[in-house]
């Protein structure tokens, strides 16, 4: 598992990691919802760069297209529709003590996740070093994702379409303006 990484790789990994964390911190502290959304988009862009560095080019593209391009635009649309762009009293954070308690919970959780992630992974799950890179060379960036998606996970993939259909129907029903004679 010990691999040597070139300085170029390491520098960009840490650079985008720091940018992602800084943007996430700016995101949770901004008063204005629009500024918060834009900082979150910045976090997603840096995460997409990290996905590319981790040999997941297709996921990096999907991250930009789906997350930054579609989901965040929907968020900004709703902020615009409801006219919530002003940093008014609704955008404020909770009081001093809840923030303090939340920070304590956050530190506890962070240390917990860190200690879990230091655990060893059973030998059954280990694959040879460079396995992902080999697959990438063999099937390409899209084929690496598509082959398991359409072979082993085909049923889950089809069920996902039902989920999306239900979500569309639910969004339409919830967002519909009720007329006077509806009930």
């Amino acid at each position: 598992m010990q691999q040597h990484y070139p300085l170029f790789y390491t520098f960009h990994f840490y650079f985008f990691g720091v940018v992602a964390i800084a943007s996430a911190l700016a995101f949770v502290t901004r008063k204005s919802p629009v500024a918060a959304a834009l900082w979150l988009v910045n976090t997603m862009f840096s995460l997409s760069a990290i996905f590319v560095l981790l040999d997941a080019q297709f996921i990096g593209v999907m991250q930009v297209l789906v997350y930054a391009g579609a989901i965040m635009v929907v968020f900004l649309f709703v902020i615009m529709l409801l006219n919530l762009g002003h940093p008014s009293e609704i955008a404020d954070t909770r009081g001093k003590w809840p923030v303090f308690a939340a920070s304590l919970i956050g530190i506890a959780m962070l240390s917990m996740i860190m200690s879990i992630s230091r655990g060893r992974i059973a030998a059954d799950f280990q694959v040879p070093v460079g396995f992902a890179a080999q697959q990438m060379e063999k099937y390409g960036a899209v084929g690496t994702v598509a082959r398991p998606l359409f072979n082993e996970y085909l049923l889950a993939f089809e069920l996902t379409s039902i989920l999306l259909l239900v979500a569309i129907a639910g969004a339409v029903v919830l967002g519909r303006r009720k007329t006077a004679d509806a009930r």
């Binding site: 990994f13 964390i21 919530l84 959780m109 999306l164 919830l174």
Partner: protein, 97 residues
């Protein structure tokens, strides 16, 4: 790079949790949930680099669920706003015991 990716993912997830706990604006809380989903995606991708490509398949599923969740959740927020003229969780406490 696996340990670094997991650490970055843990930090981002924790920032999302703290955001959910400290903010009152329902839309920002939703965006914090998206940040947490993104952190989990980073974990999947980091593991997929070292333990096979199945992790990336799960990232695709997580993205689909996130899109569905955003659509339905924002529709709920719009419905609540129509009803109460606010999205602040301070005023939406009907289920509070």
């Amino acid at each position: 790079m696996l340990a670094e990716s997991l650490a970055l993912s843990a930090v981002l997830f924790t920032i999302g949790v703290v955001g959910v706990l400290t903010r009152r604006n329902a839309i920002i809380i939703f965006m914090c949930v998206e940040l947490m989903l993104n952190a989990v995606n980073l974990t999947f991708v980091a593991f997929s680099r070292f333990y096979g490509a199945e992790g990336q398949v799960f990232v695709v599923f997580v993205m689909t669920v996130a899109a569905a969740e955003a659509a339905v959740g924002l529709a709920i927020i719009i419905a609540i706003f129509r009803h109460r003229q606010t999205v602040s969780l301070q005023n939406i406490n009907l289920l509070k015991g």
